[in-house]
Symmetry: D2
C-alpha cells in the first residue's frame, strides 16, 4: 500500500483527494494536514466523508510515500523543503508548473527557481514516461488541462487561439467574499478574468500556442467548459484524424455525435469522473476550427489527475481507482 | 412628494427599498445611510441601480418625512431615538413587532420596552386603519407575513399549526460564512431552523395560533413558500368561503386552479411583485387542511410591504408604486 | 458472475442501474431492453455511459440470472410473466409493493393479485432475511424508503405523521410536458402532490403509521428530503436511543451535529451514494419530534437499493459495488 | 390610447408583451390571439398575469392600431396579409429582418420578398428616425441586438469577430423535447449552435462585420451574454471614446468599473429591464479588444425593444412604460 498524505486537506481539491485516496485499492491515507482545522473531524468540512472517522492534523513530520500539496499558489514554494526528499511530492499549486521566465511573466518572483527543473509537469497524456520516473510532480491547472489537451494536436497549425471558458464555483475554492455568496453567484454569467490569465503560461509552455483565455463564471458548482477558436484551414476529416491520437488514452474521449442528448462535450455529463471530453466543429467556409473541451475541474482538472500521476509514479495501472463513470443526471 | 430616507441601505431589503422609492411617483429619496459604504456609489453594492447617480452617506441628521430603518435586529432599538420624532419611522427589524412578554420569550431583553406600544404592526390586511394613523410602524417578517395571512381566517378553528417553510438565499441577507457560499448553498435542501423560530412570536400575537415553524433553505435566491398543516374538520367550500374575505385585498390572491402551469401558490410566479398568493387543499378523510402561501420575500415579505405601509400612513392610494406584475419566467 | 438484464433501460433509474451493474465486480450486463430505443447506442440516451459500447435491444428472451423491471407503474404486472420464473425479478415499479387492499385504495384494480404474496418488499433494513430467499422483489419507492426508515423506530409511539417532502426533477423521470421544462421548473417551489400520495400505502404497510405526504418540487435534479412532524412526548436521549438500532446498518447514518457545514441530513451531501441520512430534533416544550431523512432518489431511492437487494438475494456481501462516497460539492 | 394586439400570445415573448402593454400608460390590449389556447384564461399559460382577467382568442379580425406578431420564423410571412394594412405591424420573427440575399443564405426561400423593403429594422439606436415613420417593423433577434450594439462603434476597424454567447433557457421558447427538460438542462454548459447562426445575417447587414457566433446554453432562465473577440490595435481610451456615442441612449449603458460586485456586463443585473450593458477590455499587448454585451433576452432582446419601437412609431416618449429598474437579486 502506498502511504499518502494530503497537506491542505480542507479545500475542495483536498477533499476530493481524500475521497479518491480512501477508495483507492492501493493507497492508504496516513495524514490529512490542515492548520485551520487541526484536530477537527474531517466531515465537519467535507460532509460527504462522514463516517470515515478521519481527523485533520497540524503540520508535522509525515509518514508518507507521497505527499499531495494542496495549498495556495505561493505557499508550496515556501514549504516544499518540509516535505520533499523522503517522500514523492505532487504539488497542486501553480508554483512549479512553468520555467522561470514564464513564471516571472505571469506570477512574479520565484522563491526557489533552482527547483523548477526538478519538477515534471503532471499531464500524463504528454509526459507519461517522465512522470513514471519523477519524484516531484507539478499537477496542471484545471483550465490548462482542458486547453492543452485540445490544442496539442494542432500546435503546428496555429500560433495563437482565442479561448472562452465557462467555469463552476468550486474552482474558486472556499474563499469568501460577497461576489461568491449564493445570492450573487446564482443566475450569473460573470466575467471572472478578461485576459492574461495565469494558466496561459502552462499552455504556451506545453503547446507553443499563445492562448488568450477569457474566463466566465456560470451558475454551476462543478465543471469546466473551454471553447477554443482557431484559424485553421482544414476539414473535418483532418481534424478528426489528428484527434485520433488520443484513441488509446484511457481518460480522453472524442465527443462528436450527430444525435442524442450530448453531441459535443458538456461538463454536465462528466461529474465525478476523470474524463476529459474533446469535440470540434469546422467552419470551413471561414477557415475556422472550433474546439470544445470539458472536464470535471476537481477530477481531471485537479485531484483525479493527481491520483493518475500517483499511479504512474508508483508503477500502478494508470487508471487504478479512477475508472468511475460520471454521475448522471445531477 | 414624500421625502424618504433609508438607514441601512446596503442590504438586500435596503436595495429593494431604493428601487421602489425611486420608481414611486409620490416619493423622493433624500438620504441613503450606510456606515460601511459611506461615500460609495450605490451601484457598487446594488448593481441594478446603476445610472441613478446615488451615493451612500454616513449617519447624519436626515431631511425626511419617513425613515426606513433597515438594520439588523437589536440595532433599531439602539438607534431609534436618532430618527423618531420628526419623521415617521418604518422599522424593518424585529425589534418592535411583538409585546414585551413575547419579545422576551423569543428574543431576550428589550432595551426600550416603553416604545413597544407606540409601534403599529405593519400588516395592512389586518391593521389598515391603525397604520393610517401611525407614526411608528413595525414591518412584519417575511415568514410571518406569509403565515399570518394564511392562518388568520382559520384562527378560531385551530390552536396550533405545523408550518414547513422553503426559503431563498436572499432572506439571509449579505451575511458571509461558508454555508452561504455558492458551492455549499447550491443544490441544497438544508434545515435552517428546526423549531422555536422567532417569527412564531408575531404569528401567535396576530392570530392566537401557535405555529411551529421549520425552515428549509432551497436553491432559490428570491422567494418564500409556506406549507401549513392544520387539523380542521371542514370541506373545500367552507375553506374557500373563509378565504374570500381577502377578495378586496389588492395584494392577496387566492390561487387554486384545476389546470394550467400553476395550480397552487409558487414563489416562482411572484418575482418582483407585492402579491401574496394563498391556496389550500382539504384532506377531508383525515380531518386535515393544508394551506399554501407564497410571496417574494423582498417585496410583500419586506420592502414592498414597507412601501405599502408608507402609502397608507401618508394617505396615498395603498397600491401606489406597487402595481407591478411579476416577472416571468425567471 | 451474475447475469443481469434491465428492462426499461432508457429511464433515469434504468441508466443508474446500468452504471451500477457495469461497475459491479460480481455482475455482468447481458441485456438492456428498451422498446423505444431498440438498436440505439446507450450513450445516446445516457451520455455518462459513453465509451461502454452498449446498445439497447428490443424485448426478447433474456439470458439473465436477475432481471430489473424498470418500467412504469401498471406495466410490470402486465409483463411479469415474460420474465419471472427462470430469472429472479427485481421490480422497480409500484405494482407489487403492497397487499391487495392497500393497492386498491391507492392505485385501483390489480391485474395479478395472486402474485402479490410472492413478492418480498425490498427494504433490506427491515426484510433482509426474506430478501435473501426471494425470487421476486418489489423495490420500494424513493419517498417510501426515506420515510419508512425514519418512522420505523417510532411506530409504536405514533399513529400518524405529517410529512413534507422536497424532491428533485429526476424523480419525475423523462416524462415530457410544459411544467417540467427548464424555464418552468427552475427557481420553482411547486406543490407536486397535496395529499393521498401513493407512497403512503407502503409506509402504512411497513410501519403501521398513517403518513400524510405533501410533495414539493424544488430546483434540484437529484435528491430527496423528507421532513416528518410527529406528536411524541419524548426527549433527545430517547429519540437518539431508538435510532441507534441502525448503528450496524451499512447504509443508514444518523446525522445530528452541533457544528460543521452539515448538521442535519441534506441530499446535497449524498449525491451518487447509497446512504440514507436520518436526523431529528425534539421540540420538547410542545410534545413534538421532527425527523429529517435525506437520500439520493436514484440510489438508495431506486437503483442503489435494487443492487443492494440483488447482492442479498445472490448471497453476496450486501455492500458490493455500493461503497461509494458521495460526490461533493456538486 | 394605442390599441394593441398580440398574435402568438402564448409564448414567452408573447407573455412579456402582455405584461408590458398592460402596464403601459398609453396602450390598451384589444386582443391576445393564440390558436392553441383559444378561449383559455391567460394566466393558465402565463401565471404571472393572474388576476388580469384576460383570455386568448382565436385568429380573427383585430381592432388594433398596432399588432405584434409573435409567431415562429416562417409563419409571419405566411400570415402578414391578414394583419398589415389597417394596423402597424411589429414582427418578432426573423422573416423581415434582412435583405433577400442574406435571407436566402441563412434561412432559405422567402415567400414574400417584395415586402422585405417595406420593413424597417427595429433597432432604435441605429434606425430611430426610420422607425418613427414605419408601418412595418422587424424586431431584431436577441443575440443580434446584443452583438450589433457592441460592434457598431467599431465597424470601421474590423471585418470579422468571434462571438461566444451564453444564453438562458427562455430563449428557446416553450418548445418541448428531452434536451430542454429540467434534469437535462440544469447544470449544463451545452453547445447549442457551433457556427453559421442565423443571427449573423442581421449583424452583417447592420454593421458590415462578419460575426462568427457560437451559442452555449447555460443554467439560466432569463438573460444573454455575448463576449466578442476582436482584432483591434487600440487602447482603452479610444475604445471608451467610441462607446461614448451611446451616452445619450436611454437603454444603453457602458459598464466598466474597477470595484464593486459588477465590473463588467452581467445579465444577472438586468432582469426585467430594457437595458443593454456594454463593456470592454483591451489586451493591448496582443492587439485584441474584448467586448461584453448583456441584456434580458425577453426585454431588450425581445418584447421590451418591441414596445420601444411602438413608442417611437406612435410618437410617444421612447421610454414610456420601459423605465423599469432591474430586479435584484434574483
Amino acid at each position: 500500500m502506498i502511504k499518502a498524505a494530503v497537506v491542505g486537506a480542507s479545500g475542495y481539491i483536498g477533499g476530493e483527494l481524500i475521497r479518491l485516496l480512501w477508495e483507492h485499492p492501493e493507497a492508504e491515507i496516513t495524514a490529512l494536514v490542515s492548520r485551520r482545522y487541526e484536530g477537527e473531524k474531517v466531515h465537519r468540512v467535507h460532509p460527504n466523508l462522514r463516517g470515515l472517522n478521519l481527523r485533520f492534523t497540524g503540520p508535522k513530520e509525515l509518514d508518507a510515500d507521497v505527499i499531495f500539496l494542496s495549498v495556495p499558489h505561493g505557499t508550496s514554494m515556501r514549504i516544499i523543503d518540509d516535505y520533499a526528499g523522503s517522500s514523492k511530492v505532487i504539488d497542486m499549486s501553480a508554483d512549479f508548473r512553468v520555467p522561470l521566465e514564464l513564471y516571472r511573466e505571469y506570477y512574479g518572483e520565484h522563491l526557489r527557481p533552482e527547483l523548477l527543473e526538478e519538477f515534471v509537469y503532471g499531464l500524463p497524456e504528454l509526459h507519461r514516461d517522465e512522470i513514471r520516473r519523477a519524484e516531484l510532480i507539478a499537477n496542471p491547472g484545471c483550465n490548462s488541462t482542458a486547453v492543452i489537451l485540445a490544442l496539442h494536436p494542432f500546435r503546428d497549425l496555429v500560433d495563437e487561439a482565442t479561448v472562452d471558458l465557462k467555469v463552476g464555483s468550486s474552482a474558486g475554492g472556499r474563499k469568501g467574499g460577497l461576489p461568491r455568496m449564493h445570492p450573487e453567484r446564482s443566475n450569473a454569467v460573470r466575467v471572472y478574468r478578461t485576459h492574461h490569465h495565469r494558466h496561459e503560461a502552462e499552455i504556451l509552455n506545453e503547446t507553443g500556442v499563445r492562448a488568450h483565455l477569457t474566463v466566465h463564471s456560470v451558475d454551476l458548482v462543478r465543471g469546466l467548459m473551454a471553447t477554443m477558436y482557431l484559424r485553421i484551414e482544414s476539414d473535418r476529416r483532418e481534424i478528426y484524424r489528428r484527434l485520433l491520437g488520443y484513441l488509446k488514452e484511457p481518460f480522453v474521449r472524442i465527443v462528436k455525435d450527430r444525435r442524442g442528448i450530448q453531441r459535443l462535450p458538456d461538463p454536465k455529463y462528466l461529474i465525478g469522473s476523470n474524463f476529459v471530453d474533446i469535440g470540434f466543429e469546422c467552419d470551413e467556409n471561414n477557415g475556422r476550427v472550433i474546439l470544445f473541451s470539458a472536464l470535471d475541474n476537481l477530477m481531471k482538472g485537479g485531484a483525479g489527475q493527481a491520483v493518475q500521476n500517483m499511479n504512474l509514479t508508483f508503477s500502478l495501472e494508470e487508471t487504478t481507482g479512477l475508472r468511475r463513470l460520471p454521475i448522471y443526471p445531477v
